[in-house]
Amino acid sequence: MSDLITNGRGLSLVPKSDVALGMKDFKSDQEVRWCPGCGDYAILAAVQSFVPELGLKRENMVFVSGIGCSSRFPYYMNTYGFHSIHGRAPAIATGLAASRPDLSVWVITGDGDSLSIGGNHLIHALRRNVNLNILLFNNRIYGLTKGQYSPTSEVGKVTKSTPMGSLDKPFNPVSLALGAEASFVARTIDSDRKHLQSVLRQAAEHRGTSLVEIYQNCNIFNDGAFDQLKDPAQRDEITLRLEHGQPIVSATKAVRRSADGGIEVVARSEVREEEILVHDAHRADPTLAFALSRLDEPAFEHVPIGVFRNVDRPSYDELMAAQLEEATAQRGAGDLDELLLAGDTWRIG
């Protein structure tokens, strides 16, 4: 097991609340307007009931979103909020978080918002490691624009814009994030509140960019996209729980190193306990995490859920603040008169 441990500094600069807050303190007075049965409700409730335990001042929390059904989220949180434009939330949140390390900044985004129009901002936010928690609501469809396929839709998806089936290979958001140098990457599911909250907790504690992919059901345009993972008959079999320091197993399956140097999923009955891969989320090298992220290809035979990667790396806002401090320490705080008169000057009269 590597020495790199989760940094736990995510909240160290955010002021703590003097009074205990509860779920109702985080509910805004706005009427929630998703379709009845939408997975977004479950995620909202999970977040609202989870954030009080962080013990932060409510006024120091900010939710920033792009455009999409999911991006309506900030209106329902009684914190500061910014519902921005399609795809740009990571950029806007970067400016906010980089200039205000005392804030706990959350980005709410959809699969189209973050992986189509905003793909560039997402990967750059991840590599920069600004102190953000990005919650990617993946319903594998464009909800708000009424049901076109998205960059996470499976090949062959029949929608209004793809009557003969979609042609392009989808992104795997976890693989993408790992390739983009993310320091914290996790996956969870709207229907499992306990798991969702445990992942959010770890994301919040991580200083730097945390990406959390949340499988979210759109019951109007892509109903049942994650049913295998919810179906009591099969979910325990196909869900591989990733817990740091624990063997990677489902009820019936286990992950081990394969002969060709990769990893493979085998029947649990066929492996010895010591052969089973033990999850190390803090491993500096992301290749094993990447291999884990590929296990659900083809989709949903066995799906790893949990924190794939959680490593300590200086966050962009800390580094930026350190440069300002260093410049000031070396030559003193800036003086405007001195600046304007620097260089060659001459006097007349």
Binding site: H83, A91, T328, L336, T345
Partner: protein, 617 residues
Amino acid sequence: MTKQVQQLDRVIIRFAGDSGDGMQLTGDRFTAGTAEFGNDLSTLPNFPAEIRAPAGTLPGVSSFQLHFADHDILTPGDAPNVLVAMNPAALKANLSDLPRGGDIIANTDEFTKRNLQKVGYTANPLEDDSLAEWRVHAVPLTSLTVKALEGFDLSKKDAERSKNMFALGLLSWLYHRPTEATIQFLETKFAKKPDIAKANIAAFQAGWNYGETTESFSVSYEVKPAKLAPGVYRNISGNQALAYGLIAASVRSGLPLFLGSYPITPASDILHELSKHKRFGIRTFQAEDEIAGVGAALGAAFGGALGVTTTSGPGVALKAETVGLAVTTELPLVVVDVQRAGPSTGMPTKTEQTDLLMAMYGRNGESPVPIVAPATPSDCFDAAVEAARIAVKYRTPVMLLSDGYLANGSEPWKVPSAAELPDISVDFATAPNGEDGTTFLPFARDPETLARPWAIPGTAGLEHRIGGIEKADGTGNISYDPNNHDKMVRLRQAKIDGIAADIPALEVDDPDGDARVLVLGWGSTYGPIAAAVRRIRKSGGKVAQAHLRHLNPLPANTGEVLRSYDKVLLPEINLGQLALLLRARFLVDVISYNRVRGLPFKAEELASVIQDVIDSE
């Protein structure tokens, strides 16, 4: 040998050579000497479009023009009096700009058969009489430099590199420029390589001595210091002035500066400059693209920073949607557009005024944005402070329209003291503003400015949500009510229109008060227009001049000014963008003069256009 000294009131020198010849540095140093001496001056570099064009070719020519005088001047000069040509390409590329009778100082060593062929000369122009109408000073600059540096432990190639300093020395002698500052400059620049410093200084002094002793220069020239207003001066380029203006705005507003930017010519130098000044608490963020640059600046503004983004036309096109978001969320933001020739990539190193209508209207929906345009390189400082003042006071994005000519041009600037700059401090909202004393209305407005409160995260009790969806007046809650939308559209427009009461009236310069023709300009055309107006008046003509620094809203008296002249002439480096706005708004039949050559106007050109309009009266 005693040499004759001739008095001149002004001189325009153009240093031209290969990109590798150090012409920009030579020009900068001559400028510094000239500034120190006390002349008024104006400079304009001309960079090749390619980064490293092949040596000795026409695309590789780089030049620097300097105009200096014993009186106040307005432009870098229409045409040089003196051309320093370091090679045949420099001569060929610049000769057509040099009026007959002008001086050519040519580096004969570079006029080799091969170099002549590279630019299509079949014969050496220094040897046939094709240059008979100019005064040619043929000087073997390279070999004289190598000879002067014989005692140094330098390769021939390294010695040759100092030829620009030899040329600088010669020109410094020719125009009686002080030398100490240049020597000091070289000592500091090459502090880590004292041998190179000494060699450059020796070359510089050899150039000076050459002028003093050689017979090819029988006359030297003196240009007396100019009588400028008392004060401390420095020379400053538009981009540097703009960056300093932004820093000043940060200091005077008490808001930390956050710059989100993506490199683009000719705006990058503002990013470079601001990146140097971290001890002012300035955060500079080189974003992944222009959209992220403006997005991050807006995010920082939401958090209480002075959010700024700097770019050129192509970048403004990308930022449009985010500027619209800033309009509707009513957050302060400064968007700097250093205009360049378009459309598309256009001519990145050339200047234009073609983004006015994009600044004005280039967004979806009714999304009015104030526009400020500096008139001269040093005015970029005040214009930046003014743009920030409007942005923070009215909680609105503001467009600051500079251009390539202002960005790279330089002039002496009377340095203001920090204390005399406007106080643009802001009050963040700190308490609920609802009638019940507990609710916060993020879109309640100040009755005078119509600005909404700026409540930043971290302020207890003022938690609120903003966004791009239409908001109900007052509460800011999402609203699809048709009447509310109409109201909000009008309120946002009224807020921007109301700024007209908070900016200076349009001033008219009409010395005798009886001119019938008004020349109007905006942005960087100020210098050439004013110089042309002087020429007309000198020859007894009557013409009034006015210059717009605020393009949206226009000064309150603009219509009145336009209507009080028989004719209004409006020169623009576009196809009539401001003319379109003025005609639509005031029904005034302005006469446009448009050239879109990527170059500033010339004073002579404008003088003849003005004269034509006067004559047609």
